[in-house]
Symmetry: D2
Subunit: 369 residues, 4 copies
């Protein structure tokens, strides 16, 4: 008996619109109990006061709770829901539903999924080596769960991680502990960064000896080319979903990745497309190839140098539009140029996820018939 | 004796920074008296309260007035200065300086420039057929000035056009005249649209019979594939700069254009690159080719349908970021994907300049070898 | 047996936070079945893509459905929920819960509440006299329901009204009908304006003869000093809640109102405070008086003249911050100056609700002693 | 022979509009050579990429250079020009021109002005005690220049101070020095804070012993109630203008100040009004009194607690509108409530200038007649 992963890309008309998913469930195309993860690209600002993420999670939880005859809390515990705000430029709001079913079909070395969790973190562990180590361990567990033994077969690792709040900081300091930062916004970056370095450690992308509390958020030469991390206030542990290829999985999906060296690295996206068996063509996927593209997932971040290939950008100096919004718009444009579609999962906040100003890009595709 | 056009691309550190141009003048690389036009991509919001445009014009006028020993008013009368606000995504603020010199070099059919002006418009003419007709006439005059006889040799027409202000509307209505709109912001779009249709008329892109006051701003199936129009409060006539190729011009610059059918039309940009003699490669210009790229000029506009190839975009519904800012970010990303640079002249407000949601793209390049 | 109205002001930590209301229900301070209306000031942008309103309604509906053992749809049908986005400046996000109970306490002429609905509107009726007339009728019905016979006893009328969508417009035009506007955003203003004029008609604030389809949205000299209207996509009828004073109501709450002539009309706010029995003092309510203030409800709108008492404001020309956001920030500051609190219901979109640039202000207070 | 200060409040139609000042010069109402300082409230975002400030300075410098027959550099050296960006809410863009003339009129103890400069600072001194001490010394020098001997007669101290740039930091570190921060935006706050503490030291508002490098930007209980500081990239020293009252000055202008304890402290503004001889009335200045108000100058800042008198505000969590913009809108509304005008100099960035969330307010008024 093999396992088979499916991925459904579903448009949303607004952040609370789960009618597209409901229709899949109604039609029997998707079984609620088989859903393991939902990624969502919602149309908020992707920053501090982006409530489109929580609104979408509430709507999704309600829908699945009713379909499964359980509570919203139970749904949250069994399905990893990662909402990424921000559809700047031409990006199109949508959900990606990841499901796993047992199957009698033959194993094909197809797309494999595995999830794992760390223990709950104490506030003083967030953004520090304790989080790095525990994340690495969870990545290894998720790989085992997915049946992936070779690190080279891992192509995308989605991590959801906690952040520091004023309450959590106070609790830690009440015990005499110190925290990595008092700035709660900054703690999101440190938590994402530590999580990404945990992925990098598990996948041997950086040597253990190069890592330290001081390197987190500082030494941007250390990074994972496969991590995509997102911080949320609603959890205190890290939740890890590993995506890769494994011999024991069936179906016609596959996955590949590449690393964009900067925000306009079209050739890297094309390399990932080719890695997933798509013909990148002379620049933009032909319609026939585009039909086999299931998902493009990537990270966007303004370069700290204030430059792209020597030319000044204004992202870091714009007090009207947040820098991460500019970055998503830019990378969304470059990615849409490559694939001829705009429903792409371009996410911000890429600390230690790809090089400074760049980021990982993963492609999930259907194998040619 | 032939004429030779030169184009200098000069970065700016802020909208009032003309030190790069001053350095070219100091070095003798550029002669102040030879300058015929300056396009600028400044880092404001590109909308109503974007004062980076006027700030840049003031700084440019001062610089040139001092170098030419004349007044700022005189500079404004002899040099067309078109500032386009908005460097969203990764776009890089810069000036493009267009100059013309007589030369003993042999004519090569190189880049040709010609300028012309309409008469001053009465307020009731703006956004109406009177503006269309007068603009068409000015385009023909500018072609003649440039020595271009074949419409197919015109590849880019920059128009600067007036808008309605409350004062101008009151003056017209005091005389019993009616104006095209009472909404001064809307008058910018109508003026740009009428100007673009004037270019289309002159270049035989739309038949005269299809044009009417009612079609302006309404029938988006009518457009020019070579017009780029910009409205400003400081003038009451249209200023036209035609760029194309003409037998009598010398030098190693050339120009070509294409029409993007939507905001992610990478193939159209690649077609324009090839038209200008650059090898578009497998997606992004190789460094060797990129070195010969002198300028990319294009228009960006959100589709009124709210969709790009069927997928919803949120540009028209975003009350935090103006739709034109999203559109420039998107098209800037797509164009940067093609050329591997970010100092590109991507301008918003594309009424009748390319199809709905798309726009013209022109490439100025240095000929190989 | 008299009726008694209660009003609870409950802070929210985010738009989906209904824990404050849940606590009141748990404590028995508030009975779910007695709730007739909930107003909410949420922290979105208050414009087109403000999803904090729908998120709050989803959370409120869920809470009440569970407490009442019914469905969310049923809750929406029996409780008027009006969310107003935008807490610019220092405004504080909060809910106002309006409840009605029968009581054995003696009638005191206290705060009286009454609700009524119009029939569903055809698309072609929205923003036109049909909506005006039907709203006036609903106001009269709500007054009757509240037991208010004298128009002078009405101090605040909250109206929730529909808007035009592309689908509704198409449906109407398919039948050969014409609609007031094709611009769906503009339809919100017309619907609010027609609703406000309906209130004005019912309360004899404008003569019937002055009203016409053409006056709606145009003749800003016509207005109600007591209407507060809000347009939403989720309904096709007008929902009206009248607040005033009536002999048959018990309790210690009272209400009064005044009309701000512009955005900085502190004296008008002070007049409303005095009308509700509060001592406005030398400028700001003393703490003792502030403790008796239950709710301040007002409307904010930028003047179309671009001026406040002769000085230019920049609200209408700012392409970074929507004009209505500036207006709420300003009026919120003026109102906070008067009362020394920031949890105030300042709402935008004041077409025909108060004079151009001004708006109604209502005060609900607890009687002294 | 006494000295007499004059203050002209001049509206601007856009940041480069100096025609109002030119008209005063043309009319002989104002003499260019007598101008000592110009404050401007321009309509940019008041944050990093606000170019309206530099644009206004360029326009002012040009105007005065021509009228004085000198260079713009010379004008900048002799006239303190402090542009504060941000006219959120209802604030109205305007200039305040401060001039000093000798006069035969009798001394009346009227408004007195004095300016002084510190030496140029090394980068490692910025935001540290060296800047505090030097600023205190300059305040004492400016007091002497103004003929003010009693600290209690100082009511407003405008300081323009430098910031750290990447270049300045590199220069310092090249010499082995360390700087207060590597974050150039944060350096603006530290420079303003150190400058404000310098004023506080000179005016005995904080004891010398309480001050240290570590307290700057950290211990918000230390503040001046009279400092207003603004950081700019164009200078490397502090420029100080002291405003107060001195026996030897003639004319009918006077000045007073108070300290707002939070953003809605209307009573503090009223106290300052009364201090300057205006009858604050029952809340808003009567027209007759308002006519004698020459200038209101104050500082606005969001409270770091996220609360105003216990109620949550959203300024610090809003990623669409910068927190300082919310704060100016709020305080502008409160101040306009007090005075019934909107052309008020409300400035952001109030580190150590008033208590956390509050700020100084100064009133310049014409004495009753």
């Amino acid at each position: 008996m093999a396992r088979m992963a499916s991925v459904h890309r579903v448009p949303m008309r607004h952040p609370g619109d789960v009618t597209g998913i409901a229709a899949l469930l109604d039609a029997g195309t998707l079984r609620a109990a088989s859903i393991v993860a939902i990624l969502g690209k919602t149309e908020g600002n992707g920053c501090v006061n982006d409530f489109t993420r929580a609104y979408a999670v509430q709507a999704l939880s309600l829908l699945l709770a009713r379909r499964l005859g359980t509570t919203e809390e139970d749904v949250a515990a069994r399905v990893a829901m990662v909402m990424s705000g921000g559809t700047e430029g031409g990006l199109s709001p949508h959900f990606l539903i990841f499901a796993v079913e047992d199957t009698d079909a033959p194993a094909t070395g197809a797309l494999a999924l595995g999830a794992a969790f760390t223990r709950d973190f104490a506030p003083e562990e967030i953004g520090r080596m304790a989080q790095v180590e525990a994340t690495a361990e969870a990545v290894r567990a998720a790989m085992a769960e997915a049946g992936i033994s070779d690190m080279a077969d891992v192509h995308y690792v989605q991590v959801k991680c906690p952040l520091l709040t004023s309450e959590r900081i106070a609790e830690a300091e009440g015990r005499g502990a110190t925290v990595a930062t008092h700035d709660t916004y900054a703690s999101m970056g440190l938590s994402r960064g530590a999580s990404a370095l945990g992925v990098a450690l598990a996948l041997d992308e950086v040597p253990r000896a190069a890592l330290s509390d001081g390197a987190i958020g500082q030494d941007l030469s250390l990074f994972s080319g496969r991590a995509s991390c997102s911080a949320g206030v609603e959890l205190t542990r890290n939740e890890v979903v590993v995506m890769g290829r494994a011999a024991s999985w069936a179906g016609d999906l596959t996955i590949a990745h590449a690393v964009m060296r900067d925000g306009i690295d079209l050739p890297a996206i094309q390399a990932a497309l080719r890695g997933a068996g798509l013909d990148a063509g002379a620049g933009q996927l032909a319609d026939s190839e585009a039909g086999r593209l299931v998902a493009l997932l990537c990270k966007a971040e303004p370069s700290t140098s204030g430059r792209i290939r020597g030319n000044r950008h204004i992202m870091n100096d714009d007090s009207d539009i947040n820098a991460t919004r500019h970055a998503r718009a830019l990378v969304g444009g470059v990615a849409a140029a490559a694939v001829g579609r705009t429903d792409l999962f371009v996410s911000g906040g890429a600390e230690h996820q790809g090089p400074d100003g760049g980021g990982p890009v993963a492609i999930i595709a259907r194998k040619a018939g």
